[in-house]
């Protein structure tokens, strides 16, 4: 049995973030994420990161789950911390032969890393605390273009089917003695297996479209769902958006 990499695995827990209305949650955290990635002050970005961690803690998501998701994204953040100090011009604070590191570069690298890390952390309380189908339905209710919602909906449904199909292909290859090595033959074989998966996906797409049409699909599927905003949803949304706004007000005041 395949272990599905489900983002909503812990959506049945109980926390303030889990109880938060999905529509308000998407809006509030989206505003906060945009506010944090647009900060230009290192100290404020750090406060933003601390705030993000607090929201994450409030979501009660297991550490192991959080760690798994953040580690992979963090790998893309680390290069900024290394490259920026070496490439941005400014006051040198370290030199070793031709290697020169600048304070401005280090600060800029840290700023990029802090902003990215905050955004990645905030995605978890935003998405991992709601069943993914409800997140999709919330996006639909928020009038996100139907084409995007459908792409998300069908991707979510079929990514697991393709994962199983790829696993089956991989097992069939392993059963006939294939082992993955870093040589041209292995890469070519994996390429062919992926190609087969694409062809199968195309054929499945055709069959799914037939199934959709045979149940009256006309390009705009609707779903039934009831969302209800409570006072606590308004308060929590105001708190998150207020936090985002206050960071920018402080930033603005400091510039003046």
């Amino acid at each position: 049995m395949i272990e599905y990499p489900e983002i909503d695995r812990y959506s049945s827990l109980d926390s303030p973030m889990h109880r938060f209305d999905p529509r308000a949650k998407i809006i509030a955290f989206s505003v906060l994420i945009f506010a944090l990635v647009l900060l230009y002050d290192l100290k404020l970005a750090f406060i933003g990161l601390l705030g993000s961690i607090l929201f994450l803690i409030a979501s009660k998501l297991p550490f192991r789950f959080v760690f798994q998701h953040i580690t992979w994204v963090s790998l893309f953040i680390v290069p900024f911390l290394v490259i920026m100090p070496l490439t941005v011009k400014g006051e040198e604070f370290f030199s070793f032969y031709a290697i020169r590191m600048t304070r401005e570069g280090l600060e800029y690298g840290m700023l990029v890393a802090l902003r990215a890390l905050s955004a990645v952390i905030l995605v978890l309380p935003m998405i991992a605390t709601t069943r993914f189908d409800l997140t999709i339905k919330a996006l639909d209710r928020l009038k996100v273009p139907t084409m995007l919602v459908q792409m998300l909906m069908f991707s979510y449904r079929y990514i697991f089917v393709f994962a199983v199909e790829f696993q089956r292909t991989w097992r069939a290859m392993a059963a006939r003695g294939f082992t993955l090595k870093m040589n041209l033959y292995a890469l070519r074989t994996v390429g062919k297996a992926l190609g087969t998966l694409f062809v199968r996906s195309y054929e499945r797409g055709d069959r799914v479209y037939n199934a959709l049409r045979s149940r009256g699909y006309t390009g705009n599927p609707r779903t039934l769902v009831e969302f209800r905003m409570h006072a606590r949803d308004y308060i929590l949304a105001a708190l998150i958006i207020g936090f985002a706004g206050s960071l920018h007000i402080i930033s603005f005041v400091r510039v003046i």
Binding site: Y4, R207, N210, A211, R213, R215, G216, P221, L224
Partner: protein
């Protein structure tokens, strides 16, 4: 009896130019259970996709549903009349949860939310899927997915149900359960059924009449007429139910069986009758022609082994 589906001179070519269907003619009466048999690549699925208007004939011909030309019917009218259960439930269950999937069809029919919810609840309870409403399809077993596919189509309350290989890949219990459900739908709601299957042991239980298809209709008749046509079976890679073969063997051993049974139920009735008429027992023996008859029997099914 009123005709539910009429197919006249239907022809179809695949986009690569090869012929899939040629001069297909079929009459399905209201409340009937029709099974379409044929070897792989005979065009069974292609024919079924024509019956709900997904494919349109490229070579002429006409299809009528309850006397109305399919060509003149709107898409909504067709999906209201004809429900299709696809072979692979992963093709059919495309929504994020089971509830959404079953609600998908009724919503597209333009029903009010209350009625949609009623239909979903009814379908879920009929097919024994209560408690699974919020599950995504990848968390259902194959048997559950198959039942969910049927529930999703039945929630649209069609008068005609088309099933493509309904028992394929099911475990024995799920297979029996699904056959029971299909027959109950036919008996209780009078739904007309068109079923394509390779499951010969299920055919006697699922069919009133059989159409044998190999690009064109090569034969039609009751299960008994089709299964007794040895030449037809041989030429089209078709098989007969195991119980039928077993009683052919018993005949070679001297059992006086007037009518070969096609299903276990028929076998039980036949055996009981035989034992009653033969004084409380049946007698098996090897006589002078037994080996010759067994040889003939073996040769008859040689191409299947």
């Amino acid at each position: 009896m009123r005709e539910a589906i009429t197919v006249r001179n239907l022809g179809y070519r695949y986009p690569d130019g090869s012929k899939a269907l040629e001069d297909v003619n079929m009459d399905v009466y209201e409340g009937e259970r029709i099974v379409i048999v044929g070897p792989n690549g005979a065009g069974k699925t292609t024919l079924m996709l024509h019956l709900n208007g997904i494919l349109r004939s490229t070579e002429g011909g006409e299809i009528e549903l309850f006397g109305k030309s399919l060509e003149k019917m709107k898409r909504e009218e067709i999906v209201k009349e004809v429900g299709m259960v696809f072979q692979d439930p992963d093709d059919q269950l495309f929504m994020p949860t089971l509830f959404d999937d079953i609600a998908f069809g009724p919503i597209n029919l333009g029903l009010k939310e209350e009625e949609v919810r009623e239909r979903v609840e009814k379908a879920i309870s009929i097919f024994g899927l209560s408690g699974y409403e919020d599950r995504p399809p990848h968390h259902l077993s194959f048997g559950e997915k198959k039942k969910a596919s049927l529930a999703a189509v039945m929630a649209m309350e069609p008068r005609i149900l088309i099933l493509d290989e309904p028992t394929a890949n099911l475990d024995p219990w799920s297979r029996v359960e699904l056959i029971g459900m299909i027959n109950e739908l036919n008996a209780r709601e009078g739904i007309t059924m068109v079923i394509a299957t390779h499951d010969v042991n299920a055919i006697p239980e699922l069919s009133d009449r059989i159409y044998a298809l190999n690009r064109t209709i090569i034969e039609k008749g009751t299960p008994r007429e089709i299964f007794f046509d040895g030449e037809l079976l041989k030429q089209n890679n078709l098989d007969v139910p195991d119980v039928f073969k077993l009683f052919e063997v018993l005949r070679a051993f001297g059992v006086r069986c007037e009518e070969l049974p096609l299903s276990l139920d028929e076998a039980v009735t036949g055996l009981t009758k035989m034992i009653e008429t033969e004084g409380g027992h049946i007698h098996l023996h090897v006589h002078e022609h037994t080996h010759e008859e067994l040889g003939k029997w073996k040769r008859k099914y040689e191409h299947h082994s």
